[in-house]
């Protein structure tokens, strides 16, 4: 069996970046457009349209009440229609459309095909793309994943979008029928159906689509489609009755999962979702819903979340857009009193203490972690899949060699405290004649020790020298250049490391990326792959230790925090463009033109991301994982490009 490349492909990385920025793309529109029912925001430069006299107030039924009571998962979205309508007039759209790579993409045959497809859809539906998107997203939109009957089987899906206009909903059904008839791919032709006074079409025998008033109903089973239509029609009828003067009626009930979701999450989020863990687990027959992580690093980062999720009854999440920020959060109920003992290594007890962050020059990514390594190692059986035992065994052996034969879990880990910062920076190669062809970012680990770091630091220093010795012996066999070991003072600390001699041209220049360096300062040990970075970190650690200890950019309760600078990452990727493009060509079979376009589009979109964050926070009753993004402010040049 061939080993697959464990590193994410360039397409994967760019897809994640694009999706992240895609989320952000909604943010400025949200800031400028109301996301409650109402008029869409006026286009830039246009005066608001004159308002028609307001109709008599009515109370529309709660759309979530049409969903089945028992659902495995639900989703509720509000305000997306307005966002869709406002997008084309937004600053963000102008910035994206102004990107050089986007303009190249517009000239590709695939883009022309996309435009042709959109034109066809517009023709069939009678709606412009923005209006079509708004209609499909609805206001609100509700979705549920349901298991039909009592026997476990494949879940079915239902989605209902409130278009607000019965004609639009009917048009969409007609358009879907027309598109299905024109398609040669479907095995079954579309067929009409009527139920509960609503008219619809069955697409390829698999999807039921119907218009009920202004509500568009989509379901993947006939029974679910019929039941949803019946509820929708009944609810609207009840609401019409309630709207009569003097009439009252109880609001249609929503299912318990929807109730729980709304009670748990804030009112400000545009998208809310919830998962019934027990119901979802019943669908998965090949193991637990949230299995233990099969790699040790994953377990170290998210092991507590996985364990808590498996014990929770309902998981809830939300997407919140505010100004230039977007936040996606997942909340896992986990009462403090009932958390299992084996989660003790995840820093919950000290979560309220500030978690340190470091920001050396040219920072790309930083990870701040509150984890007790010694306890994690002891509890690994509860946290990790048994397959990881080999990783731990290899780590023990390899690191044992590094630490002069000492037992890593028994003698080294107990000396480390529960704070670790990992930073990744772009290198500038100040001592090299020329930067290498492939520029690898520098990495550094900053450990907090229990007490003074000197004793453990000396053990680390011996390990670094051992590593340099082994590396040099190996390089000598290959007729490569070697590292010159050094021990030098730097601003009050002693640095142990190895560096390439700039005049030795025997070695490929990629080796210039690696110059291990180690030092310790007070209660911190710093190990870096570049001297330049180590010097920066020493200066940072010396600058104001007391202030650094008290301050933290992370909110209270944070036990893990990742921060990334989109623009800096884009710059670093650009420096390796040729290498990454050729990788995409050889590994993915893309043409050079395709690979270059995808790369350039990806990095230019990353340029739009000022900061991205992943945070894990702990409170007395829950664990929360959130992904946050901040859009970079538009520069004058970008504004000019987009106009």
């Amino acid at each position: 069996m061939r080993r697959t490349n464990p590193l994410p492909s360039i397409a994967g990385r760019l897809a994640v970046a694009a999706a992240f920025v895609g989320l952000l793309s909604l943010a400025p529109i949200a800031a400028r457009s109301p996301w409650q029912w109402g008029e869409p925001a006026p286009a830039q430069g246009q005066a608001p349209a004159a308002k028609a006299p307001a109709p008599a107030p009515t109370t529309a039924p709660d759309l979530a009440s049409v969903l089945p009571e028992k659902a495995v998962a639900v989703l509720e979205a509000r305000g997306l229609a307005a966002l869709a309508r406002g997008y084309l007039a937004s600053d963000l759209h102008a910035r994206i459309a102004g990107l050089e790579a986007f303009r190249r993409m517009e000239k590709t045959p695939e883009y022309a095909q996309l435009l042709a497809g959109l034109s066809f859809v517009q023709l069939a539906s009678g709606l412009k793309p923005a209006d079509l998107a708004a209609a499909l997203l609805g206001d609100p939109l509700v979705v549920a994943l349901v298991v039909e009957g009592t026997a476990p089987g494949a879940p079915v899906l239902v989605a209902v979008a409130r278009t607000g206009d019965p004609d639009v909903a009917e048009q969409l059904v007609h358009a879907a029928r027309a598109l299905a008839s024109a398609s040669k791919e479907a095995a079954n032709p579309p067929r009409d159906f009527d139920h509960a006074g609503a008219h619809g079409v069955v697409l390829d025998g698999k999807v039921w689509l119907a218009a009920a008033g202004g509500d568009l109903v989509v379901a993947t089973s006939e029974a679910l489609a019929h039941a949803t239509l019946e509820r929708d029609v009944a609810n609207r009828a009840a609401a019409n009755t309630a709207n009569q003067p003097g009439a009252t009626a109880a609001p249609a009930p929503v299912g318990p999962l929807v109730k729980r979701m709304r009670a748990t999450l804030g009112a400000g989020s545009q998208v809310k979702f919830a998962l019934d863990v027990a119901a979802a687990a019943a669908l998965k027959t090949d193991g637990p819903l949230f299995p233990k992580s099969d790699n040790s690093v994953g377990a170290l980062l998210f092991g507590d979340l996985l364990a808590a999720a498996g014990r929770a009854d309902v998981l809830c999440g939300e997407l919140e857009l505010s100004g230039d920020r977007a936040r996606l959060a997942l909340r896992v109920p986990s009462p403090k009193a009932s958390r299992p003992e084996f989660l003790r290594s995840f820093g919950h007890a000290r979560a309220q203490q500030p978690l340190r962050a470091l920001a050396p020059k040219n920072l790309l990514v930083s990870l701040s972690l509150r984890r007790d390594g010694e306890l994690f190692w002891r509890d690994r059986g509860e946290l990790c899949d048994p397959k990881t035992e080999q990783e731990f065994a290899q780590a023990k052996t390899g690191l044992g060699l590094f630490f002069g034969g000492r037992s890593f879990p028994d003698e080294i880990l107990p000396q480390l405290d529960d704070e670790l910062v990992v930073v990744v920076t772009r290198q500038t190669y100040p001592n090299a004649k020329a930067p290498p062809r492939v520029r690898v970012p520098a990495f550094a680990f900053v450990w907090k020790t229990k007490g003074d770091a000197k004793k453990l630091g000396e053990q680390f220093a011996i390990g670094v020298n051992t590593f340099i010795g082994i590396l040099n012996a190996d390089n000598a066999q290959k007729r490569n250049a070697q590292l010159l070991p050094f021990v030098e003072p730097f601003e009050g600390v002693t640095v142990y490391g190895g560096r390439m001699l700039p005049d030795d041209d025997r070695t490929p220049d990629t080796s210039l990326n690696y110059a291990p360096a180690l030092t310790w300062l007070n209660d911190r040990i710093v190990l870096a792959t570049s001297e330049e970075m180590l010097h920066d970190l020493v200066r940072l650690l010396k600058s104001d230790p007391a202030a650094l200890a008290k301050s933290s950019p992370w909110p209270a309760g944070t036990t893990a925090a990742v921060r990334m600078d989109g623009r800096a990452i884009a710059e670093s990727l650009r420096e390796n463009r040729d290498h990454l493009v050729s990788d995409a060509v050889t590994n993915k079979g893309k043409t050079r033109v395709q690979a270059e376009l995808e790369f350039d589009l990806g990095v230019q979109l990353l340029d739009l991301l000022s900061e991205g964050r992943i945070l894990e926070r702990v409170s007395d009753d829950a664990l929360e994982l959130s992904l946050e993004g901040v859009l970079a402010p538009a520069t004058k040049a970008a504004r000019t490009e987009g106009s």
């Binding site: 061939r2 492939v438 290959k478 990629t510 050729s582 990788d583 050889t586 590994n587 079979g589």
Partner: protein, 452 residues
């Protein structure tokens, strides 16, 4: 009738898409069927001109530059066998698929098998790639010039131990293989010739990745090689080998086995040898005459060769205009028995029937499935609708005929054709693109798919 008598379309036989396909599959890495038709309409001369074109095209030029960068940036030693080698193989295969100069590209593959230098001993991708570029740039011209260049090529110096060939301790490795494997063949020289030739190559070393004549280690004394005496050096020995009467027939046989028939008859060998001598051992000009000959287009030459894994994989992808993970393709070809830049020994790959055994045939079957259905590590993506052309919605017979023309390098046998017709007409074949893929898969599993 002279084997190299020029083929006269019409008089000697047709010159249609099948003939163009035969020409480009043998001399290059194949062409899409529709392009075969277009070239056929232009005639034999236009087809040959296209085959012998020198301009590789912009994409292939970019691939070359990238491969240079990969080789230069790679570590040496065991690291060379890891990711950088896979990437280099991938870029090489991509070039073969992209190139608009098929003859030099195919010849480079021929010389790679002929001079059979392996990265596993050389352990430096820069040198291996430099040698491959030498084959591409020089291999299409004078064999004499090529052999001189190869004798001084650093990868070859390391591969055949010229690096340890010293005045007081001559190493006979290169001298022997020069005569036996590279220029004359077995039985054309004596052991004394080998010993004396080895002395001529003493001091032919490598320093700082370049050829270096270590004067101190070179034996400048009197020697006698192949009947000629004098203070001969390595260059003189190369000339003696090339001028030996056995050289042209030896080279002619190898070219015929690679391009025409695994067992060429003596008359054909003699004619091609004669042509080589007339052309002063210019391989490109000789091949141009061979590819224009009646012998080359004779019916018994069609489907007579078993393509090597690299030829088979690249030609199949070119036939349907597909892309794939080129890195994975390199691994696939290696599993089929041909790892680029790592031939099994100094004799290179045996070829022909040696490409086919139970293990490699299974791997070819897996490749066929990957091509037809996509996905997996190889991730082949083909435009099947375009490949099927007008036969996409036609009856089963027409589809089988069309896809057979597109995918196969040899005519489909009667029983295979009948079975495929029956399948294509049955409900099991499916409809639309699924039907095309299913037919393509079965065609690629036929024996004829492993011939060209």
């Amino acid at each position: 009738m002279s084997a190299l008598a020029r083929y006269r379309p019409g008089a000697d036989g047709p010159f249609g898409p099948a003939e163009v396909r035969h020409l480009f599959r043998r001399a290059g890495f194949g062409l899409p069927w529709d392009d075969c038709g277009a070239l056929a309409r232009k005639g034999l001369d236009a087809a040959l001109e296209s085959l012998l074109a020198a301009d590789e095209g912009r994409d292939a030029a970019w691939t070359s530059r990238t491969a240079n960068e990969v080789a230069v940036a790679a570590d040496t030693g065991k690291m060379a066998a890891g990711e950088p080698l896979k990437k280099l193989r991938a870029l090489c295969l991509l070039r073969m698929a992209q190139t608009r100069a098929p003859l030099p590209e195919k010849l480079a593959l021929f010389w790679h098998g002929h001079f059979a230098t392996s990265v596993e001993k050389v352990q430096d991708l820069r040198l291996i790639w430099r040698q491959y570029r030498l084959f591409r740039e020089t291999g299409v011209a004078s064999f004499r010039a090529l052999l001189h260049a190869v004798s001084r090529d650093p990868a070859m110096v390391i591969w055949l131990d010229s690096d340890s060939n010293e005045r007081l301790r001559p190493n006979e490795n290169y001298a022997r293989e020069l005569m036996e494997l590279f220029s004359m063949g077995v039985g054309r020289y004596s052991e004394a010739d080998v010993k004396e030739a080895a002395r001529a190559f003493t001091g032919w070393h490598v320093r700082h990745l370049d050829f270096w004549l270590d004067e101190h280690e070179h034996d400048g004394g009197e020697k006698k090689v192949l009947g000629k005496s004098g203070r001969l050096d390595g260059g003189d020995v190369v000339d003696l080998c090339v001028e030996h009467p056995a050289c042209a027939p030896f080279l002619a046989r190898k070219l015929l086995c690679f391009y025409v028939h695994p067992e060429p008859d003596a008359a054909a060998v003699a004619e091609v040898a004669s042509a080589l001598q007339e052309e002063e051992l210019d391989v490109g000009r000789t091949l141009a005459r061979l590819f224009a000959s009646r012998h080359f287009f004779a019916p018994e030459m069609r489907g007579a060769l078993i393509p090597s894994p690299v030829e088979y994989c690249v030609a199949t992808l070119r036939a349907v205009g597909a892309t794939a993970s080129w890195k994975e393709l390199g691994e696939t070809a290696a599993t089929m028995g041909q790892a680029l830049f790592a031939p099994p020994n100094v004799k290179g790959w045996d070829g022909q029937a040696a490409w086919i055994n139970t293990r490699t045939l299974l791997e070819r079957g897996r490749f066929a499935e990957a091509v037809a259905f996509g996905g997996g590590a190889l991730d082949v993506r083909a435009d099947w609708k375009r490949a099927a052309g007008d036969a996409f919605a036609a009856d089963g017979d027409a589809l089988v005929a069309r896809m057979g023309d597109v995918l196969l390098g040899a005519p489909l046998g009667t029983s295979s054709r009948a079975a495929l017709h029956a399948f294509a007409a049955s409900p099991a074949a499916g409809t639309g693109e699924a039907r095309v893929r299913n037919v393509a898969h079965l065609l690629l599993c036929c024996a004829e798919a492993n011939l060209h």
